[in-house]
């Protein structure tokens, strides 16, 4: 089925392809979507997908694959789209990525596949993310899951701790090798950060459920309401429940606060709490769902931070009726870690970006409710450890910004639950788990780790890359028995 370089099915001559415009994603109009939680991007039609796929230059040495953390064979799946074999394209992606409908929506493609696309040097890169999403959604609508074949049982059991992107990826890869895989999740719903962190308008819950149902069909077992470290320890899983290996993919998990006065005020949230209320607990559907959210309709709301989490939070606030919605970021827009598409979408929706601005104190009324943030302007100095120019406060530039709600989205730190209950598990000085960057092995025999609990806050696809590497080395460990 896989076309070879010599026999391209693409009717467009190579020379002409660069002249074709990148096909735009259909999306909800900004003013409409700013008042609902439905998905912003509506997806490609078959026709748009084939037209976009025809832009692919079919490079002899495709750089889009090397830049993908899980190594999706982009050229091959795009060629299958050109050929009209969408299920074949989905199967091709699935060889390397068990969550295509998710990565197609939330990957920062500009940093990976599309960043590596040769066309991007002259014109707009191939819409690889959009194509991946198209294929994954097509698969969901048309594939008969009962045809999924299960591998011959290996007789080995693997426990996966956490059902976020790294855990699901490791589970999917391992079950295909015939291992019995069980995923333990602390919350009542599966998906980890995909469920509690990423809002409906960017990644609908239904998509996550479908991807997980697919994994169930592959044979992966799931158990919710298990906080490993509390409900059961890693050692108990291995010694009493007979797991031959454990993968820890619990995410970073603990919110960072700024350490400025007033963070305990009513109306000040961590991004984790704000988003968990909205996403996991459906507070935006109160009173149909019981979890409440403050009523800040018509009132000013700000998020502090410049990453995807910050934009998810402020765009959620806008949808809940915030009168003003600000992003306060201490560096400039060039340093913002958020996906380009999210920044574009947020601006279209009317979010105000205040760059080089940081709060130094939260101010309240006499009853402890937030009324304002005292802020200071910054300027960029010399590059810091991250390679980005360090923000330096400008003396005398303080000002007060009236606010009813402030959401702190400046990153996360390591949640110590597992480290503190697993003897022999080495951690670094910031309490993240030490794991080999290639094999994901920890200091404890049979225990592997990957994702944010090893690296600190990163992206879905980087966590998936770690899950993939871990699965490979877990399989090797289980088949050879050598540590």
């Amino acid at each position: 089925m896989s076309p070879t370089a010599g026999k391209s099915l693409n009717p467009v001559p190579i020379k002409e392809r660069m002249k074709l415009p990148r096909q735009a994603m259909l999306e909800q109009p900004p003013l409409l979507r700013a008042s609902n939680f439905k998905e912003v991007n509506l997806g490609y039609s078959e026709e748009l997908a084939r037209r976009e796929a025809q832009r692919c230059l079919e490079c002899a040495k495709p750089t889009c694959i090397d830049t993908c953390p899980v190594g999706v064979k982009v050229k091959e799946f795009v060629q299958l789209i050109v050929a009209g074999d969408y299920l074949g394209a989905a199967a091709k992606i699935r060889e390397d990525n068990v969550l295509p409908a998710i990565t197609g929506r939330v990957c920062p493609q500009e940093d990976h596949c599309e960043g590596g696309c040769l066309m991007g040097k002259k014109v707009q890169p191939l819409g690889i993310g959009y194509l991946e999403r198209f294929v994954a959604d097509y698969e969901q609508r048309h594939m008969d899951k009962s045809t999924i074949r299960r591998a011959e049982p290996s007789g080995k059991k693997v426990a996966i701790v956490g059902s976020g992107p790294s855990g699901l990826t490791a589970a999917g890869d391992l079950v295909q090798k015939g291992h019995q895989v069980r995923v333990f999740e602390a919350l009542h719903e599966l998906g980890g950060v995909l469920v509690y962190g990423i809002p409906e308008f960017r990644l609908p819950k239904q998509i996550i459920r479908e991807q997980i149902d697919y994994m169930r069909a592959m044979g992966v077992e799931f158990e919710t309401n298990v906080v490993v470290g509390k409900t059961v320890t890693i050692e108990e899983l291995m010694e009493e429940e007979g797991y031959d290996a454990v993968f820890i993919g619990t995410g970073a998990g603990a919110p960072q606060f700024m350490g400025i006065p007033g963070e305990h005020l009513n109306g000040v949230y961590s991004a984790n709490e704000f988003l968990t209320r909205i996403n996991l607990m459906h507070a935006y559907e109160f009173p149909k769902f019981d979890e409440p959210m403050l009523d800040f309709r018509g009132k000013p709301v700000a998020v502090i931070g410049g990453g995807n989490t910050a934009l998810d939070a402020i765009r959620s606030a806008l949808r809940l009726g915030a009168g003003k919605a600000y992003v306060l970021y201490r560096r400039s827009e060039a340093e913002m870690p958020a996906r380009i598409e999210e920044v574009k979408h947020a601006k279209q929706e009317g979010i105000e970006f205040h760059m080089l601005t940081a709060p130094i104190e939260f101010v309240s009324d006499s009853k402890g409710w937030l009324t304002a943030a005292r802020c200071i302007r910054m300027q960029l100095g010399e590059p810091d450890a991250s390679g980005r120019r360090r923000p330096v406060p400008m003396e005398g530039s303080e000002f007060e910004l009236p606010l009813s709600v402030a959401v702190i989205a400046i990153g996360t730190s390591a949640n110590p639950l597992i480290q503190s209950t697993t003897p022999g598990l080495a951690t670094n000085k910031r309490n993240y788990i030490e794991a080999d960057s290639d094999t994901q092995r920890t200091s404890k025999k049979g225990v592997f780790a990957g994702g944010d609990i090893v690296t600190g806050s990163a992206t879905v696809i980087l966590a998936m890359g770690a899950g993939r590497r871990a699965a490979r080395s877990i399989h090797e460990y289980l088949t050879t028995g050598t540590w």
Partner: protein, 293 residues
């Protein structure tokens, strides 16, 4: 789904549930709690575990009807199912031989203080328990507390049973009588714990209280349950729920617990009119999920 093996009211508005939760029962230690969610649209609420039976695989919780979720929970009966129960969460109580320990339970807090009182007794402490309630019928666990205490004192606000007054009156009397108190554990409504802290702070008696702020995940992930301890944020779900009372900023605790009062009132009003329909929905979920985990 977690099956309710047994449910019965032990006082007006206060119900005890025996819930099948084998993993939790195996690991529970005094002072720890579970978070539960009754049905798909429900919120997650923390409730301290009264005791557990690792052999039968059950845990007991005692619930007082306060808001919508606790009212709905207390409408459930033997044989019903709770959608999600997770735990045991939080740090266990610090149990050692302190000497003389005064265990104070206010209202339903008595059920939460009970397992730790029993553990204090087993560790060789002299346990003086003080149980308080608004009135006679709200005095709970009297027999159980008596069993694990060297001395049991009871107060009711209205004097309808035992001595009229507050638990703090008894504490003051003990102190005034020259009782050497090495540790106080107080669990109950915030004003009661705050009043106890005020009595013991002046006399330098180490005092532990168990806090119950608004929580969501219970694993340290969201930070919603942060409390000010010596001016610094700590998370009740993982750093607590027990804290040294003298270090707690009670004013901030009260302020943060009031954050969703308007929404809570609306939920409660809606619940009054939707109670029957909601119960039917919960029962339907039980059937749909087939009870199997």
């Amino acid at each position: 789904m977690f099956k309710i093996q047994h449910a019965e009211f032990i006082a007006p508005g206060i119900k005890r549930f025996v819930i099948e939760a084998p993993r939790i029962a195996r690991k529970q230690k005094p002072g720890q709690f579970v978070i539960l969610r009754i049905y798909e649209e429900g919120e997650r609420i923390p409730i301290t575990i009264e005791k557990s039976d690792p052999v039968c695989g059950t845990i007991n919780i005692v619930v007082q009807s306060v808001g919508k979720t606790t009212h709905l929970l207390n409408s459930l009966e033997t044989g019903d199912r709770i959608r999600d129960v997770v735990g045991p969460l939080g740090k266990p109580s610090e149990i050692e031989k302190f000497g003389t320990v005064v265990v104070m339970g206010g209202g339903v807090g008595t059920a939460m203080a009970y397992p730790t009182a029993a553990a204090f007794k087993r560790a060789g402490n002299r346990v003086i328990s003080v149980v308080g309630a608004r009135s006679k019928e709200l005095v709970i666990l009297e027999r159980e507390m008596r069993e694990v205490s060297d001395e049991l004192l009871i107060t009711t606000d209205d004097g309808s049973y035992a001595d009229k007054g507050f638990v703090t009156d008894k504490l003051r009397q003990l102190i005034d009588a020259g009782t050497q108190i090495d540790l106080v554990l107080a669990i109950g409504p915030i004003p009661m714990m705050r009043a106890v802290a005020d009595v013991t702070r002046a006399r330098n008696i180490r005092t532990i209280v168990s806090l119950n702020p608004i929580m969501i995940d219970g694993t340290g992930m969201c930070g919603g349950c942060r409390v000010l301890i010596d001016g610094k944020s700590e998370f009740a779900c993982v750093d607590g729920p027990e804290f040294d009372a003298s270090r707690i900023d009670f004013a901030v605790l009260v302020q943060r617990n009031a954050m969703y009062r308007a929404a809570e009132q609306k939920s409660m009003e809606d619940f009054q009119s939707e109670r029957v329909a909601l119960l039917a929905k919960v029962h339907a979920e039980c059937v749909l999920q087939g009870g199997g985990k």
